[in-house]
Symmetry: C2
Subunit: 204 residues, 2 copies
Amino acid sequence: MAFDAQTTRDAPLSDAALAQLFTEARTRNGWTDRPVPEALLRSLYDLTKFGPTAVNNTPARFVFVTSPEAKARLVPLMAEGNQAKTAQAPVTVIIGQDLDFPDHLPKLFPHAPGAKDWFADEAMRRESAFRNASLQGGYFMIAARALGLDVGPMSGFDPAGVKAEFFAGTNVEPNFIVNLGYGNDDNLFPRSPRFTFEEASQVL
Amino acid sequence: MAFDAQTTRDAPLSDAALAQLFTEARTRNGWTDRPVPEALLRSLYDLTKFGPTAVNNTPARFVFVTSPEAKARLVPLMAEGNQAKTAQAPVTVIIGQDLDFPDHLPKLFPHAPGAKDWFADEAMRRESAFRNASLQGGYFMIAARALGLDVGPMSGFDPAGVKAEFFAGTNVEPNFIVNLGYGNDDNLFPRSPRFTFEEASQVL
């Protein structure tokens, strides 16, 4: 479907949709055994990929860990407090960034044939990969909720171990890891406080 | 409103909602003169703030640049190709990360009184601030679309200049900058190619 410009896309979604995406959504620490079909993972990717990134560099790479064999490789690399829930979740997703993203810019950003050369500086390349893969991680989690899934993101794991086990021989580095499925209320934290608008924002 | 656990939140949003958030949404380079009321900016923050971050550290800070005076301070710090559209957009948002986020963890993450001390290492603190503020930037842009707004994110600006002009005397650093409003089709790129599922993902 396509929108008529400035007619149908300028209205807010329903309160129920906003609740599903943001206001009532919660990080889940317990998971039902309801499976997540691969078709749904593909739909999730097909939403995520459209989120904006700098020069469309889309550096995020996604490893969907679903089989018992793959889970057995990942779980020991998680921080102790993250192991049981990672073992329980039907899917655990390793989100990484490909530091070789400039190699793909002739395909991804055909408007500017020289874009590949804008990232010759390694620190700048690393910063852009990290920023944009993190943005894509944000899109990914909201897209998962938009598809009715729950998420449980985690930074507590052994990055060098995950790199060696899942990204050997590539220039992809792990960024963060997300449990994915249909959550339950086990070990659900009370909602933590948030900053007020004035504490985190200003209008100039 | 609240969901009954595992009953109503497990269904996908409508195709129209998914189109507004992802599949038909486009980065905008031209803007109508329709204003964005401050109440809508506050609603946008009140969605964004609920997105998940590590230990709820919510390091992102948002400067909503709306007045002609504030725009005049920002526009010269943008890359040349970003100046005209930044001048035209009704709102331009500077998204930064507060490297002093650990100071707020006793309030933001009361479950773990020692969380403040988990970020004593400066490199780790900086990495967590950058990752989580970028995630929040992703939530912010999808939340904007959920409220009917368009976004135009940009990395092309003078970071040291923006830091000095808008975050002097703080430990906040700029991450990226977003034009916000109701876009039109001026200077709209053709949709760039995206990686296929197989190119960016694997299922193990």
